[in-house]
Every structure is written in structure tokens, then in C-alpha cells.
């Protein structure tokens, strides 16, 4: 097992998070270099995720590394019944780093236990996706100038949305105030509210996406409300537009407010918000490149700032 692996955001300390943010800042200023010259990185996507894969592969390419891998498990021995362990041990013979996405939860953790090559989790089912969390943190840090003492409003699917859960856990070190806005069926699970209570994190909870909440926020983190999450389809029809952000709702919001969304978006942010300078979701995705360059260099034990 390599200690430079990144499986879950909760595996790394406050100092390591701040170090990754500083690396991301460095790469935003210096996106292209040859510091991965001679290194080979495997991108093993046992389930397709074009957005995440392209972001990781761009990160490696811009740093001069080489890539092997696959974008779909159907084209590999997995379809012949090979175990994950055997696939990882085979690939580990060839590369310096493994970036993997898998449809099964816990797959990346298990992969770290069968190889000494560092492993980066690029998503394991509904479980963890730490590079998404790092790009969210970097987006917040960059737009607010700090991670400390911010009011963050999370809206939409707070029950199943792993991005909001991981962001909540990562923000524990920075004295946040959270507003959780969701319909009854998709409220923040009790275990995360308990996490807030035991860590002294302030939060409010409401089904009402009100102007007061918007106007008090430094960050609004929107998520997609998916029809298939509802047991009662009438309930979906009733609530689907209650959690849509329109430009008119932002009239009295803080000038420094930024709106984040992990993308892809459907209806939860109206297109009329896109031209508002407070809309940040497209730049947020771009920050994923720098966050992933930071994670990759940390995993390989390379410090670009030296």
C-alpha cells in the first residue's frame, strides 16, 4: 500500500488539503511543464466517465507524462471474469500511478491493498470522489480568498449526492456554516448532521429555497434532483421546480457570492443565470484540471514548487 494514494477526502489532513490547494494554485499559473517526463500513468475506467477521464488525462499530458488505460471495462479481461486484484497487479507492473474509476463501492480502497503503486480514486460507485471535492475546495478558496468562516448553502439532492457529503466532511477544518435546502425525500442524511454536531459545525435545514438563505450565502452549491431518486413520482413533479435557481433570485445576494454545480446540470439552474458573473460552474470544471495536477504530483512524490 502506498501512503500517497488518495481514496477518500477524509484520509487526508487539513495541512495536506492546504498543500494540495497551494499546488493547484501553482499549476493554474504554470499549467504546462515536463515534470512527469518519463512517468507512465494508467487510467483504468471500469465504468465510463468521459468528463473525469479527460480531465485526468489532460492533467498528465500537460505535465509531460504518458498514459495507458481503458475507458470501458468491456474491452478488458474483466469481461472474461478476471478479478480486480489481478487486473491491478498486472497494470502495476507497467506504471508509476493508477487512476481508477469503478462501479463498485470500495474498489479503490481494495486496489490500494493489493499494490504498492499509488492509486487515485476517480469515483467508486456512490461512495467517494475525492478529486471532485478538491476542485470544489479549490473553487471556493480561489473565489473567496479563504476557506474559513464561509456560509455554504447546499441545494437539491442532499440524500444521495456524494459531492455534497464529501465537501461537508472536508470543510470540517474551516469553521463553515451550512444551509441544507432539500425536499423531505432528499434531505441531508442524519449521519452527516450528526457529523456536524460532533464537530461543532453550524447548520440550518429547510425545505424552502428562500431569498434570506440566498442573501446570506457566500457559496450556493446546486445539485441535480433526479427523477429516479423518488419513490413517489407525484412528489417529484411537485418539487422539481422548487429547487431551480433563477437569475431574479440573486438580486440582493452578496457581491462575492458564487454558484457552484458539479455538472451535468439539467433544470436546476436556469440558463438565465449563466451570464451572471456569480455563475461559476464552468470555471469550476476548469479548476478540476489544476486540482488533478496537484493530486497526481502529490501521489508521485513530486513537488513542482521546488
Amino acid at each position: 500500500m502506498s501512503s500517497n494514494s488518495l481514496v477518500s477526502i477524509s484520509d487526508i489532513s487539513r495541512d495536506e488539503i492546504l498543500d494540495l490547494l497551494d499546488r493547484a494554485r501553482y499549476f493554474e499559473e504554470n499549467p504546462n511543464s515536463k515534470i512527469l517526463d518519463g512517468r507512465v500513468v494508467a487510467t483504468l475506467f471500469f465504468e465510463p466517465s468521459t468528463r473525469t477521464r479527460l480531465s485526468f488525462e489532460t492533467a498528465v499530458n500537460r505535465l509531460g507524462g504518458r498514459i495507458i488505460g481503458f475507458s470501458d471495462a468491456n474491452s478488458t479481461s474483466t469481461s472474461k471474469g478476471e478479478t480486480l486484484k489481478d487486473t491491478i497487479k498486472m497494470v502495476a507492473n507497467y506504471v508509476d500511478l493508477i487512476v481508477m474509476r469503478h462501479y463498485l463501492e470500495g474498489a479503490a480502497r481494495y486496489a490500494t491493498e493489493v499494490t504498492d503503486i499509488p492509486v487515485i480514486n476517480a469515483g467508486d460507485g456512490a461512495n467517494q470522489h475525492p478529486s471532485q471535492t478538491m476542485l470544489d475546495l479549490y473553487s471556493i478558496y480561489k473565489t473567496q480568498g479563504t476557506l474559513n468562516n464561509l456560509t455554504i448553502t447546499m441545494v437539491g439532492d442532499l440524500k444521495y449526492g456524494r459531492t455534497v457529503h464529501s465537501l461537508l466532511m472536508a470543510m470540517q477544518y474551516f469553521n463553515p456554516t451550512f444551509n441544507f435546502i432539500a425536499s423531505k425525500e432528499l434531505q441531508m442524511p442524519e449521519e452527516y448532521k450528526e457529523f456536524c454536531r460532533t464537530h461543532g459545525i453550524k447548520f440550518t435545514e429547510s425545505t424552502d429555497f428562500s431569498e434570506d438563505v440566498i442573501n446570506s450565502s457566500d457559496i450556493i452549491y446546486m445539485t441535480r434532483v433526479q427523477r429516479e431518486r423518488f419513490t413517489d413520482i407525484m412528489e417529484y413533479e411537485r418539487v422539481k421546480n422548487l429547487y431551480t435557481l433563477h437569475n431574479s433570485m440573486l438580486e440582493n445576494s452578496k457581491p462575492t457570492l458564487k454558484i457552484l454545480h458539479p455538472l451535468p446540470r439539467v433544470n436546476e439552474i436556469d440558463r438565465d443565470v449563466d451570464d451572471n458573473p456569480k455563475a461559476y460552474y464552468f470555471e469550476q470544471a476548469r479548476n478540476g484540471l489544476f486540482a488533478r495536477q496537484a493530486i497526481i504530483t502529490r501521489a508521485l512524490g513530486i513537488d513542482p514548487r521546488k
Binding site: 478479478t83 469503478h102 463501492e105 470500495g106 467508486d124 456512490a126
Partner: protein, 153 residues
């Protein structure tokens, strides 16, 4: 009367192990956890016995067998207050409570069908996140389950 009977039953064991103070509802899970279904030794199982401390209790007596500590401690998952007596030549030579280990390897099956541990030939692993009542979390997929609801392998 019942006290006399119980004392007689325990005293009847010359050498072996007596596990006492198992909640009645957890008795048969405890039997499974110790692998006693396949034991060739004399095993006496009593259930719904009166207990001043926990209402009704179960008790397991296994003749001529002493278990490694890590095997006995598995019982703490479902019976955190169980007591283990080691008997040699009719004497109780050791009496101690079970102690739940921090991690449980190859003991519990994860109840999440999408967990890697249910789809790959590998050892399951759980971490204990709360002791009273017991709550454990899958080392791989992070699903949590109450100790009493855990599926024993």
C-alpha cells in the same frame, strides 16, 4: 431451584469454556460465531434463563475446548456484556468480559450488494465506530450497520 440447577450444570463441566450473559435474542448468533455447529465436543446451550442483570439470558458450555481470545471476542459484536469462564478440573480459573476488537476481519458480510467485498474473492473488513450499542462500518464501502443486525459469515 433454578439457581441450584444452573450451578449444577456449570459445575458438571470438568474442563472447557462457559460463556454467560448472552442476551437471549443473540444466543444462536453466538453459537454460529464460535463455529459450534461443526464442533464434535459436548456443547450445552441454555436459553431464556433468568438473569438479574439483563432479564433473560443465554449460556453456552463447551467441554474440553478453550478458544483463542480473538475468537471469543467476536461475540462482543452481538453480546457486548458476555462473560467468558475458563474451567479446568471443575474450577473457574479465568473469568473475564469479552472485548470488541477495533476491526473485524472475515467475520461479517457487508449488506451493500454494490460493495467490492461482495463481488471479489477477498476478506471482508469492518471497523467498530460505536461500542454501546455496537455500530460497525465497512472498511471498503463505508456502509454502517448495527452489531445486532450484522450478517455473520
Amino acid at each position: 431451584m433454578s439457581t441450584t440447577k444452573k450451578e449444577l450444570a456449570v459445575a458438571a463441566l470438568r474442563n472447557g469454556t462457559v460463556i454467560d450473559r448472552i442476551p437471549s435474542t443473540a444466543l444462536f448468533q453466538a453459537v454460529r460465531l464460535l463455529g459450534l455447529e461443526h464442533s464434535k465436543c459436548h456443547v450445552t446451550i441454555g436459553n431464556n434463563l433468568h438473569s438479574g442483570k439483563i432479564g433473560t439470558k443465554g449460556i453456552i458450555k463447551i467441554a474440553d475446548t478453550e478458544f483463542p481470545e480473538e475468537v471469543l471476542n467476536r461475540i462482543a459484536l452481538i453480546a457486548p456484556n458476555a462473560v467468558v469462564n475458563t474451567i479446568r478440573d471443575f474450577e473457574v480459573v479465568d473469568k473475564r468480559p469479552v472485548r470488541l476488537p477495533d476491526t473485524l476481519t472475515r467475520i461479517v458480510k457487508c449488506d451493500n450488494p454494490k460493495c467490492i467485498s461482495n463481488n471479489e474473492p477477498m476478506a471482508t473488513k469492518f471497523e467498530v465506530v460505536a461500542h454501546d450499542p455496537v455500530v460497525i462500518r465497512c472498511h471498503y464501502c463505508n456502509h454502517t450497520v448495527a452489531g445486532t443486525d450484522a450478517q455473520i459469515l
